[in-house]
């Protein structure tokens, strides 16, 4: 049997069904792992071990009575600390919220709880989902287990670290400019930013409501599918929740890509800051897809800068609108990077904001028109520009120095997965992104899973 701290959600679920292990035994094993590793890597801000053991006992009771609630029943999970949890502190990574205790659960935790998941705790996120990695933040920042001098990526930093170090098999992050895919890529795990509106944002502290996405992170795309199936669905209590329903994504999982047409985006190049090493990793991934039966076609999207500028303008404007009243009184209590990034929103005019929103429509239409014209199921491009930067070398406005390769999918709202692609010359995780048509999240995850099955050597975890 795979070690409990290494096993996938799919494996753990079958262990629980077959009663090879109880949820209490599994939860206790993960608590021991957190106690051994969290001081070193700082993934958890708040641990909820008593609650977890109580929920695990309830799950075991359901298993004994043959009334399991599904594949997540009894499986431990953790949430980015931007998701409200009733009676459990939710800080959004800020000292301003160090004592904030919500009175209601977020929609995501409501759904996971109903599915029988066990909550191990709340995971570090950069301040207000934007701020990292600021040395003066109220809570210690998570450290990248592959090289602690390098950035984990943000803002779902704790989730990337907890998964990579075996502290938890499943986590929920959020993504406005790349905050699921960046830490997944830099920590060497899996994550998907689902289609905009597919997962309810109710109870997720907003950064930018028109760009925020809630989504799963795990150690495999199959596990992301299991999590997504549990958390997606229309929520009448949140205005951005889509009425469009999609069938469960996990049954689409298979080991081949026959009939799939993938567009290789060739213009996200060195001229736009993407390293040759990242582009080579993407080309190798496409060779694997070709061997799995996919057809590859080369395509060109609009400039990465166009997506980045529109995304950054909308995100910064909306973030300032959310925080400006708080900043009037307490600016000095916010970390250096966060206050500078959000303050920029004060200088974006309504005309600029509307220009960015119009550009969003044009870029989104152009992207999907191109996919339709070339009859593409998916697009594939590098996951990151290059290796994670060193913690002390992340400039305040890094997204104005180099474009964000994660921005296109935030702006278009398309589903986008970060998939492992081996290791760089510096032995840091590399990745590529797969994006799909709107609401084709299942197709993205199925292709990512087929690739992962063909490249097991890339799933190396931290000892």
């Amino acid at each position: 049997m795979t070690a409990l701290t290494r096993a996938s959600v799919a494996e753990l679920s079958s262990f629980l069904v077959d009663r090879k292990v109880s949820s209490v035994e599994l939860t206790e094993a993960l608590i021991r792992r957190i106690e051994a590793k969290n001081a070193e890597y700082r993934a958890f801000l708040t641990c909820t071990f008593d609650l977890a053991l109580e929920q695990a006992r309830e799950a075991d009771d359901r298993t004994a009575r043959n009334i399991r609630r599904g594949p997540l029943d009894g499986v431990p999970v953790a949430l980015k600390d931007a998701y409200d949890t009733r009676n459990i502190r939710t800080t959004v990574g800020s000292g301003l919220f160090k004592d904030r205790v919500p009175t209601a659960d977020s929609a995501v935790w409501e759904r996971l709880r109903r599915a029988g998941a066990v909550l191990l705790g709340k995971l570090e996120c950069t301040e207000f989902c934007l701020g990292g990695p600021s040395p003066d933040t109220a809570f210690p920042i998570s450290l990248n287990p592959h090289d602690t001098s390098r950035y984990t990526g943000g803002s779902s930093s704790g989730a990337g670290v907890a998964l990579a170090t075996g502290m938890v098999p499943a986590a929920i992050g959020s993504d406005t400019g790349g905050s699921i895919r960046i830490p997944a890529a830099f920590c060497g795990v899996a994550g998907i930013k689902p289609t905009y509106g597919l997962v309810s944002l109710r109870g997720l502290f907003p950064l930018s409501g028109s760009l925020d996405h809630a989504g799963p992170m795990a150690r495999s795309s199959q596990d992301c599918a299991l999590l997504l199936d549990a958390i997606m669905g229309h929520d009448p209590l949140h205005p951005s929740s889509s009425r469009r329903q999609i069938p469960p994504t996990s049954p689409d999982i298979s080991d081949n890509c026959r009939g799939l047409v993938i567009g290789h985006v060739t213009n996200f190049s060195e001229a736009e800051g993407v390293s040759e090493e990242s582009r080579a990793a993407c080309r190798r991934a496409l060779d694997v897809f070709r061997d799995l039966g996919a057809e590859i076609r080369e395509v060109r999207l609009p400039s990465l800068w166009d997506y980045t500028v529109a995304n950054t303008t909308i995100m910064t404007s909306e973030a300032f609108a959310i925080h400006h009243a708080r900043f009037r009184e307490k600016l000095g209590e916010v970390s250096h990077l966060t206050r500078h990034r959000i303050a920029l929103g004060a200088f974006i005019s309504a005309a600029d904001y509307l220009r960015a929103q119009k550009a969003r429509r044009v870029l989104t239409q152009t992207t999907f028109d191109l996919m339709t014209e070339h009859r593409l199921d998916l697009l594939c491009y590098p996951g990151m520009l290059g290796d994670p930067p060193h913690i002390d070398q992340v400039p305040p406005y890094y997204y104005l120095d180099t474009p964000l390769i994660t921005a296109p999918a935030n702006l278009t709202g398309a589903p986008a997965a970060s998939v492992r692609a081996g290791f760089s010359a510096s032995d840091m995780p590399m990745s590529f992104q797969l994006t799909g048509h709107m609401f084709a999240d299942g197709k993205v995850l199925a292709a990512a899973h087929a690739y992962e099955r063909a490249t097991p050597e890339f799933s190396r975890l931290v000892e």
Partner: protein, 53 residues
């Protein structure tokens, strides 16, 4: 002056840094000027269903 209008306390901001970022963003934004939305003069609420096949 803009910081004061926005009620941002300059004691906690490196104004030069924000100013330079603002200029850089304005420069980048100007590249979007030719990107007119043929459908509308207004920026309507983003609806993913509009783009689904």
């Amino acid at each position: 002056m803009q910081c004061e209008q926005a009620n941002l306390n300059l004691d906690y901001l490196e104004a030069d840094e924000v100013f330079k970022a603002c200029q850089r963003l304005q420069g980048l934004l100007s590249t979007l000027e030719n990107m007119a939305d043929a459908q509308s003069e207004t920026a309507s609420v983003f609806q993913p269903e509009e783009y689904s096949t």
